[in-house]
Amino acid sequence: MTVASESATLESALRQARLPGVRHFRRTLGLVVPGGILALFVFTGIFAPLLALQDPREVVLVERLQPPVWQSRGSWSHPLGTDQLGRDILSRTVYGARVSLLVVAVTVPLSAAFGSLVGILAGWRLGLFDKLMMRVVDVQLAMPAILFAVLLAAIFGPSLRNVILIIVVWTWSAYARVVRAEVLSLREREFVLAARSYGAGTLWLLARHILPNVLNPILIVASLEVASVILIEASLSFLGVGVSLGTPSWGSMVSEGRHLLTTAWWLVGVPAAAIVLVSLSGNLFGDWVRDALDPRLRHVR
């Protein structure tokens, strides 16, 4: 078969894939698969101590570098193999999910709350506060999260607290920008003017008329941020400026295993698969949330 006819077949197959029934199926699949992976991620993160078969830090040198069970020397006692210190990869990956989940669970609500508050105030008051906010964003753009993480790690040594601080400081502005833009258009709308005309106070206006209308954008940004928070945490841990040394996290697992890539691929392969699966699912899920709640916000990402 020539390349041209092959691509023609594929194209007609794609066209068929856009038929209503197939499309509905695809859309459901597009929610169920990423949703399922995310649910599994949350579940393992919460119940890691109950699920992990072994202590993720237990060093058993005689059992080091065992391959996963499906390879010739693998065994069921370590289904995903062991690392260079004989620590169980499966249980380290499960505990790594716990670190990622913890970081997401703390930073996303924190920066959503802070960013939205700033966005509402900036969009509502404009003026000096608004200008100040834009300045702060300028400085942030000039000093990427990684550099600030490097600075903090140089001073305090790596820790989970640093990671959380950095991620909040570097993600709140996404919420602030989107919320500010929404508020700018909302404040001129008839229902807000009407509420004003009968004498509603600022607090009442913000709480009853503005806030309910910016909840959807906030939710959308938050769901899209989940994946990027996971990637930031993994990157920081990979560089050794993330969670403290010794804590099993996906990024540090990749970093520790990378020198053995040729002889023991699973040291990098397993945590890498976890990172990509979860962040991909997070992105797909975020896209789904956005399309379901407010397709206008496609420009958000």
Partner: protein
């Protein structure tokens, strides 16, 4: 507004951002952090700590220290590296060249990949290429830079042995780091080109151009594309930051002898002046990149050129 006035306006704004970054670096290290903890050995006695505080002027009022820090920074004196004893500015200068090389190559690669792919994806909307492009964009958002780098090393350096696994010794060593860093930014450029072009293709002036009987190629290249690429230019300013943040990671993966790896190495040996200098230099380059983008944007788009700032 004349070009010179615009330029000076931008430079002042940029300088204020750099000034803020320097201030943040100072206060984070002196107020939140305790300088003695990184200046003194772990087992230092009280007298030794006294002596260090005396030598570095840490007992003076904070604002006096801040003033001196600014004054030294303005004269490019950032102290000496704890590790080599050479001035930190010299250390950083030696490594900056390699990082700039990598950054420029990666930028060229991501434009060369992202823009054509975005154009094809927009013109042949729904085709296999479009699907591939969107798949690439999706993966580009889900695969962190260090994983992409390791993956490329595994297949092209170890398995196939086409390229070295790291370093910057020969021209071949440039290829994998360039592809890794460039791919990170090309996904965004591709998406902006595609959505920009799709938007423009439905607009009145494109319909007019077609109605005049212009060749489709002329319509796209001379009319639609020029318009569609404006947001891509804006995006480049943001990508400058990404490239630099990415270079810290990519240099670590590929053992690239650049600034990013210098800084990461400096952390491990608590070489604080070098970390500080490197961060400030990175920030300055991001600010400069944004000024260039901003000015060229105003130059490219006649509507903005006509407006007064």
């Amino acid at each position: 507004m004349t070009f010179l006035r615009l330029l000076s306006f931008r430079l002042v704004a940029g300088a204020s951002v750099v000034f803020t970054v320097v201030t943040v670096v100072f206060f984070v290290s002196r107020v939140i952090g305790n300088p003695v903890s990184y200046l003194a050995p772990v087992d230092a006695t009280t007298e030794e700590i006294e002596r260090i505080e005396e030598a570095y002027g840490l007992k003076r009022p904070l604002l006096v220290q801040y003033r001196d820090f600014l004054w030294d920074a303005a004269r490019l004196d950032m102290g000496r590296s704890f590790r080599t004893g050479r001035p930190a500015v010299e250390e950083v200068k030696d490594r900056a060249g390699k990082t700039v090389q990598l950054g420029v190559l990666a930028l060229a690669f991501s434009l060369g990949l992202g823009i054509p792919l975005g154009i094809v994806a927009a013109i042949r909307r729904g085709s296999l290429l479009d699907l591939l492009a969107r798949l690439m964009a999706l993966l580009g958002q889900a695969v962190p830079g260090f994983l992409l780098g390791l993956l490329l090393i595994f297949f092209f350096a170890v398995r196939l042995d086409w390229f070295p696994t790291g370093g910057a010794a020969e021209w071949k060593s440039y290829i994998l780091p360039t592809i890794t860093l460039g791919t990170l930014t090309s996904a965004g450029i591709m998406r902006f080109t595609r959505s920009g072009l799709l938007e423009v293709l439905g607009s009145d002036f494109v319909r007019t151009a077609r109605a005049k009987g212009l060749h489709e190629r002329t319509v796209i290249w001379r009319h639609a594309l020029r318009h569609a690429l404006l947001p891509v230019v804006t995006l480049l300013g943001i990508q400058a930051g990404r490239l630099i943040a990415g270079s810290v990671i990519i240099e670590t993966v590929f053992a690239w002898p650049g600034l990013g790896r210098l800084i990461i190495g400096a952390i491990q040996s608590s070489d604080y002046p070098v970390v500080q200098t490197g961060i400030i230099l990175f920030s300055i380059s991001i600010v400069v990149a944004n000024i260039i983008v901003d000015l060229s944007y105003r130059y490219i788009d006649p509507r903005i050129r006509a407006e007064s700032l």
